[in-house]
């Protein structure tokens, strides 16, 4: 099958003062793929996300979405053309109910409140949050908040969904639930790029893995290849994990 290139990042660099958060990062994502971006803390994963989605303006390099140049595009426009994202530190509207949060996302392509609410209800059913639709953003657990953030992103009807640590800090059960949700999202034909620390999840769900360290891409490949790469294991997953694997 010959699939279209969904996202193409080329030579992306971003500096904060003297710190090179991203330097010359290139990778691409095919339509329908799940690509994970991993690396130790401070490797530049979130910066990369922010540069792609317009939250930061990259210093150099380009980002293309289905062949269209979106480098330095405003975040709301990036969302409009079909890239939705979540944040490492969960961002939901705390004074809104779960339903209202998702409705806000759905309003992007459905201007009528009634249709937006119908759409939001549909997504809440899909994400398993329907029972909690009348709770406020502040009243739900962290796992539900992450699920809500994913639902808000889905409500904008993206073609590419980018999740920044959607699984950090969750219990085993919660982790399994969110993985199940991601698989469901994928089966609907969505392309996913995820930043993740939880290796268990990365191994299970990714088609390909991109490894970052100190702002540079140091490896890219299938999950198995990445975890069996000695350098990657020792430098990025730690001695302990390498011992565990072999």
């Amino acid at each position: 099958m010959n699939k279209a290139t969904c996202l193409k990042v080329d030579g992306l660099s971003k500096h904060f003062g003297g710190l090179a958060a991203n330097s010359d990062v290139s990778f691409s994502v095919e339509e329908g793929e799940i690509v994970s971006i991993i690396g130790p803390n401070g490797a530049g994963k979130s910066t990369l996300f922010n540069c792609v989605t317009g939250v930061y303006k990259p210093d150099r390099g380009s980002v293309a979405f289905f062949g269209r140049d979106i480098t330095r595009m405003r975040p709301d426009k990036v969302c409009k053309i079909g890239i939705a994202r979540t944040f490492q530190i969960v961002e939901v509207v705390s004074e809104m109910t779960v339903l209202e949060n998702v409705t806000t996302g759905a309003l992007l392509h459905h201007s009528r409140i009634k249709t937006a609410i119908e759409k939001a209800d549909e997504i809440l059913h899909f994400a398993g949050l329907y029972e909690k639709r009348d709770f406020l953003g502040t009243e739900i657990t962290i796992a539900d908040k992450k699920r809500l953030e994913v639902s808000m992103a889905l409500a904008t009807q993206p073609r590419l969904l980018m999740l920044d640590e959607a699984m950090a800090g969750l219990t085993k059960v919660e982790l399994r639930e969110i993985l199940e949700l991601l698989r469901k999202i994928r089966s609907e034909g969505m392309t996913l790029v995820i930043v993740e620390h939880v290796m268990e999840a990365v191994m299970q769900i990714s088609d390909r893995v991109v490894v970052l360290n100190s702002g540079k891409k140091i490896m890219e490949g299938k999950p198995k290849e990445v975890v069996s790469d000695r350098e990657v294991i020792q430098a990025y997953l730690g001695e302990k994990y390498s011992a565990h694997i072999s």
């Binding site: 961002e91 509207v93 004074e95």
Partner: protein, 337 residues
């Protein structure tokens, strides 16, 4: 608010009928005047509520829009004989344009930074008008008193027409606020209030929606300004552009219940009579006791109902219908030692 309950609707209609009947039974000018002020501040607080309560932009410069409205219609009337009703619309447009011009460069300012910018803006406007010869500078403008009639927005024999006009304006402001709150705009404003980030990643053009919010708010505030000018028939920068006036608008809205439709009006209904009647009863003695009582009332509300008095009222109203909206939360609370 999505499904307005019948109970609330009935209460609303009854209150409206009482308000319409009020001046027919209680005709002493002092009471009618107080009610007119309640409506006017209710409208100003509602206008503030759109940007402050919903969009989270805590403007302390509302008086500038009020003043621009008052000055636009008054100046056009005094120097060009433009009908004040037309002046009302033009004043609203002028204030909205100024709001857009000042709002755009402030697009990235949030929280107290935005507040500071609005204070500075309002002070600049006041100083400009204080020195602007064409609009009377510090002497202000005295409005003509000929041809009192509805079409000239001028009545000298009774306060009644002013009462009903201001009540109408207030209802208009509430209708606007209701439609804003229950439209795409309302959702987007509330997302912007939470954080620009969360709004942006849901595709909200933050700059645009913030501008819409300030423009609507400015237009409504300016309408109240024109009303004030036609009511008092004399304006100067010290009466329509002073900072404490802005502070009072914010106070009324916050203590009444910002972010709810009726909260700011309730705030006006409590604070304005409290301020007026204590002043009438005690102010003449020159002891400042009226201000003490007024200040005490504000302290009490902010201590016990920091989210606004409306929270209390709506809680009573909701108790019967929605006792347990959050059963799990209630259970969790009771389970705690």
């Amino acid at each position: 608010m999505r499904n307005l309950p019948i109970g609330q609707l009935i209460v609303g209609v009854v209150v409206l009928l009482l308000l319409i009947a009020f001046p027919l039974f209680i005709s002493q000018p002092v009471h009618v005047h107080t009610m007119i002020l309640v409506f006017m501040f209710g409208m100003l607080a509602t206008a503030w509520n759109i940007i402050g309560g919903y969009a989270g932009m805590y403007s302390f410069g509302q008086v500038a829009f009020f003043g621009i409205g008052a000055y636009t219609s008054s100046y056009l009337l005094v120097s060009h004989g433009v009908n004040p009703w037309l002046g009302l619309i033009l004043g609203g447009c002028a204030a909205a344009l100024v709001a857009a011009a000042i709002g755009y460069p402030c697009s990235n300012l949030r929280g107290h930074y935005f507040s500071i910018a609005t204070i500075a803006f309002a002070e600049i406007v006041r100083i400009v008008f204080n020195n602007w010869k064409a609009v009377g500078a510090a002497e202000g403008l005295t409005l003509p008193m000929d041809n009192p009639s509805f079409s000239h927005f001028l009545f000298n024999s009774s306060k009644l027409p002013y009462y009903y006009i201001m009540l109408g304006f207030l209802i208009l402001a509430l209708v606007v606020c209701y439609f804003v709150a229950n439209s795409k705009m309302g959702y987007y404003f509330r997302a912007i209030k939470e954080s620009h980030r969360v709004a942006e990643v849901m595709g909200v053009n933050v700059v645009l929606y913030r501008l819409i919010a300030v423009m609507i708010s400015a237009f409504l505030s300016a309408m109240a300004g024109t009303f004030y000018a036609q009511y008092v028939l004399y304006i100067d920068p010290d009466s329509v552009m002073l900072l404490p006036f802005s502070v009072q608008i914010v106070l009324i809205s916050m203590l009444g219940g910002a972010g709810s439709l009726m909260g700011p009006v309730l705030g006006a209904a409590i604070l304005i009579p409290a301020s007026e009647y204590t002043r009438i009863a005690l102010g003449a003695k020159g002891t400042g006791v009226d201000m003490l009582i007024y200040g005490f009332l504000i302290m009490m509300i902010s201590m016990y109902y920091p989210e606004g008095v409306w929270k209390l009222v709506s809680r009573i109203g909701r108790k019967k219908t929605k006792t347990s909206v959050h059963p799990e939360k209630a259970a969790a609370v009771t389970a705690q030692p």
